[in-house]
C-alpha cells in the first residue's frame, strides 16, 4: 500500500511539473508583425494593448536580418527575408522590424531564408540609442531558435507558407 502511495505521488508530481511547464510556455503571448503594424497610431503612438506588453516576455517569428555584428548579439527581425525573393514588399519602417538584442551570441545557424522564433522581454515605444539609432519595437534578453513550419504571413488564419519559393 505504501509503495502504491509513493508511486502515485511521484506520478502526480511529474504530471504537475509537466503541466506547469506547458502552462508557462503557453502563457507567453505570441506577437505578429500584423499586430505591430495595427498598434501604431498617429506620430508613432502605440495602442494601450501593445504598450501593456512592455516589460513582459513575448514570442515573435520572422526572418533574421543581421544588421549588427556577425555574432548575432543584435539583429533585426523582419516579416520578409532580406534576400532570396522579391515577391513581397520590403519592410519599410519601424513598424515592420523588431530590434532584437540576444541573450548570448551565436544561438542559431544563420540562414536568411529560414523563419526563427524569438522569445524575450518586449519593449514598445520610441527609443534613441547612440549605437542602434531610433527603434520602436525591441526584444531584449532574446532566445532564438529555428521555427520549423512556422506560419507568419497571416494573423489567426489557416496555415500560410513560411517563406516564398
Amino acid at each position: 500500500m505504501r509503495g502504491w502511495y509513493r508511486k502515485s505521488s511521484w506520478a502526480l508530481g511529474v504530471a504537475l511539473l509537466t503541466s506547469a511547464t506547458f502552462a508557462g510556455a503557453q502563457d507567453v503571448p505570441r506577437l505578429t508583425f500584423a499586430q505591430l503594424v495595427d498598434s501604431i497610431r498617429a506620430e508613432l503612438e502605440l495602442t494601450q494593448k501593445i504598450k501593456s506588453l512592455s516589460g513582459k516576455e513575448v514570442e515573435i517569428q520572422g526572418f533574421i536580418i543581421p544588421a549588427g555584428l556577425p555574432d548575432l548579439t543584435f539583429f533585426l527581425l523582419s516579416r520578409v527575408s532580406s534576400i532570396g525573393n522579391y515577391c513581397c514588399e520590403a519592410p519599410v519602417g519601424q513598424d515592420e522590424t523588431v530590434y532584437v538584442f540576444a541573450a548570448r551570441a551565436d544561438q542559431v545557424t544563420y540562414d536568411p531564408l529560414r523563419v526563427y522564433t524569438v522569445r524575450g522581454v518586449f519593449e514598445a515605444g520610441l527609443q534613441k540609442d547612440a549605437v542602434y539609432g531610433i527603434s520602436l519595437f525591441r526584444i531584449r534578453q532574446a532566445r532564438v531558435e529555428e521555427a520549423v513550419g512556422a506560419t507568419i504571413m497571416k494573423v489567426g488564419g489557416p496555415s500560410a507558407p513560411a517563406s516564398h519559393p
Binding site: 536580418i65 543581421p66 544588421a67 549588427g68 555584428l69 556577425p70 555574432d71 548575432l72 533585426l76 523582419s78 520578409v80 532580406s82 534576400i83 522579391y86 520590403a90 519592410p91 519599410v92 519602417g93 519601424q94 515592420e96 522590424t97 530590434y99 545557424t109 544563420y110 540562414d111 536568411p112 547612440a130 549605437v131 542602434y132 539609432g133 531610433i134 527603434s135 520602436l136
Partner: protein, 396 residues
C-alpha cells in the same frame, strides 16, 4: 618512500619510453589546442575586423568578393560602379553616412584604398577608432589638384619602413605620381593596418583610365542608414537594379562562418581520432610496462605492499605522463597557433591574435589526465591482481 616517488622511479627506469609517451600526449594536446585557437581566431578576427557600416553597395556580382575585398582587403576588386551611386546615396534621407571607397593596386603587397575623411570619423555608433601615431591625415583635395598624400596603416609602416615625408611609388608606371606619406595610423588590429589610404582625387588622377572618365568610378559605397530599420528597404532597392548590389556584411560573414562550421566539424572528427590514437598508445605503453614488471610487483606484494598501493602506483605513472605531456602540449599548441596566425596574416588574410588562456586549456589538461586514468586503469587492475605465488616462481 612515497607512492609517487616509487611511480617516478619506475618512469625513470624506462625514461625513453616514458618521454615518448609524454610526447605523444603533448602532440595530441597541441594539435587540438592549436586548431581550436586558429579556427576560433579566424571567426573572432572576422567579427573584430568587420565594418561598422551596415550596408555595402557595389557592382553586381559576388557578395562575398565585395565584402572580402572592400572590408578585409583580400580577393580581387569587383567591377566598378559610377560615382553617381554615391551621390544618390548621399542625398537619400534614409542614409546618415555614405563613404565612397575605391580599391586599387598595391605597394609591396599592401593595397591602396582611396576614400574620404568620413572613413576615419569617430561616429557614436563606431567601435573602431582611428588615431594617428605620427604625422597628419591627408589634406582634402579636389579632382583638379590632387595632393598625392598617403596615410599608412600601422603594419604597412612597420613592414615598409616608410615614415612621414617619404615619397614612394610602385612600378615604373607610377613613377610620374609618387605619393608622399602624410601620416601613420595607430594599430586597429584589422585590415586597415595593412592598407595605404589615399584620396579619391589622387587615385583617379594616378589611374590612366579613370583620368579620362567624366563620371568617376568607385568600387563600393559604405552605408550607415539613419534608422537601422531602413536596412531592408535600402538593401532591396539597390539589389533589384541590374547594375548594383547591396550587401549586408554580417550576412556574408555568417555564411562564411557556416562553411567554417563544416570544416570545424570535420576537424573535430579528425581530432577525436587523434585523441583515441594517443589513448591507445598510452594504454599499450603502460600495459606492456606492467607485464614486464609483474615479478617486481609480486616482490613488492611479498614485502607487504597492499594491492591498492600497487594500483595507485600505476595510476600515478599514467597521471604523471599525461600531466607532463598535457602541459607541454598546451605550450606547444599555443606556439603552433602563433606560427599559424603569422602565416595566415602574411598570406594577406585575416589578422589573428590567439588568446593565451581560454576555457579550453584547463579542460584539455583535465581531459588528458582523465583519458590517462582511463588508459592506465586496465594495467593498474592487472597489477592490482598480480598474485605473489604465480610470479615469484624461480625463473629457471
Amino acid at each position: 618512500m612515497t607512492l609517487f616517488a616509487v611511480a617516478l622511479k619506475y618512469l625513470r627506469g624506462r625514461l625513453m619510453a616514458s618521454l615518448l609517451t609524454a610526447c605523444s600526449v603533448a602532440l595530441g594536446v597541441a594539435l587540438i589546442l592549436s586548431i581550436f585557437l586558429l579556427t576560433h581566431g579566424i571567426r573572432d578576427s572576422f567579427i573584430r575586423g568587420t565594418t561598422d557600416f551596415n550596408l555595402l553597395v557595389g557592382a553586381k556580382g559576388s557578395p562575398t568578393q565585395l565584402v572580402l575585398n572592400v572590408i578585409f582587403r583580400t580577393d580581387v576588386p569587383p567591377p566598378n560602379i559610377p560615382y553617381t551611386v554615391f551621390e544618390q546615396l548621399q542625398d537619400d534621407p534614409r542614409v546618415e553616412v555614405a563613404v565612397p571607397a575605391m580599391l586599387g593596386d598595391a605597394y609591396q603587397g599592401f593595397r591602396y584604398v582611396a576614400t574620404t575623411a568620413a572613413y576615419f570619423q569617430p561616429f557614436p555608433w563606431r567601435r573602431k577608432a582611428f588615431s594617428l601615431a605620427t604625422g597628419s591625415f591627408p589634406r582634402a583635395d579636389s579632382p583638379d589638384q590632387p595632393a598625392y598624400e598617403a596615410l599608412l596603416g600601422a603594419e604597412v609602416a612597420r613592414r615598409t619602413g616608410l615614415t612621414p615625408g617619404d615619397r614612394f611609388y610602385s612600378g615604373e608606371e607610377m613613377a610620374e605620381y609618387p605619393l608622399t606619406v602624410a601620416g601613420i595610423l595607430r594599430p586597429t588590429r584589422g585590415a586597415d593596418d595593412r592598407t595605404i589610404f589615399i584620396s579619391l582625387a589622387s587615385f583617379w588622377e594616378m589611374n590612366e583610365i579613370s583620368r579620362e572618365m567624366t563620371v568617376k568610378p568607385l568600387t563600393a559605397v559604405l552605408v550607415r542608414p539613419t534608422r537601422l530599420s531602413d536596412v531592408p528597404s535600402l538593401h532591396r532597392e539597390f539589389n533589384v537594379g541590374s547594375e548594383t548590389q547591396a550587401v549586408i556584411p554580417s550576412s556574408v560573414l555568417l555564411s562564411i562562418f557556416n562553411l567554417l562550421g563544416l570544416v570545424e566539424a570535420v576537424l573535430q572528427v579528425i581530432l577525436t581520432i587523434v585523441a583515441l590514437v594517443v589513448l591507445l598508445f598510452l594504454f599499450v605503453a603502460l600495459y606492456s610496462a606492467t607485464l614486464q614488471r609483474r615479478r617486481e610487483i609480486a616482490t613488492m606484494r611479498a614485502l607487504g605492499a597492499r594491492r591498492l598501493s600497487i594500483l595507485l602506483i600505476i595510476l600515478l605513472e599514467s597521471w604523471t605522463i599525461t600531466l607532463v605531456g598535457g602541459i607541454l602540449g598546451l605550450g606547444g599548441g599555443y606556439g603552433l597557433a602563433l606560427v599559424g596566425a603569422r602565416v595566415i596574416a602574411e598570406g594577406g588574410g585575416v589578422v589573428l591574435h590567439p588568446p593565451v588562456l581560454t576555457p579550453l586549456q584547463p579542460l584539455l589538461l583535465a581531459g588528458a589526465v582523465g583519458l590517462g586514468t582511463l588508459a592506465g586503469l586496465i594495467p593498474a587492475v592487472l597489477a592490482y591482481r598480480t598474485e605473489v605465488s604465480d610470479n615469484l616462481a624461480p625463473l629457471s
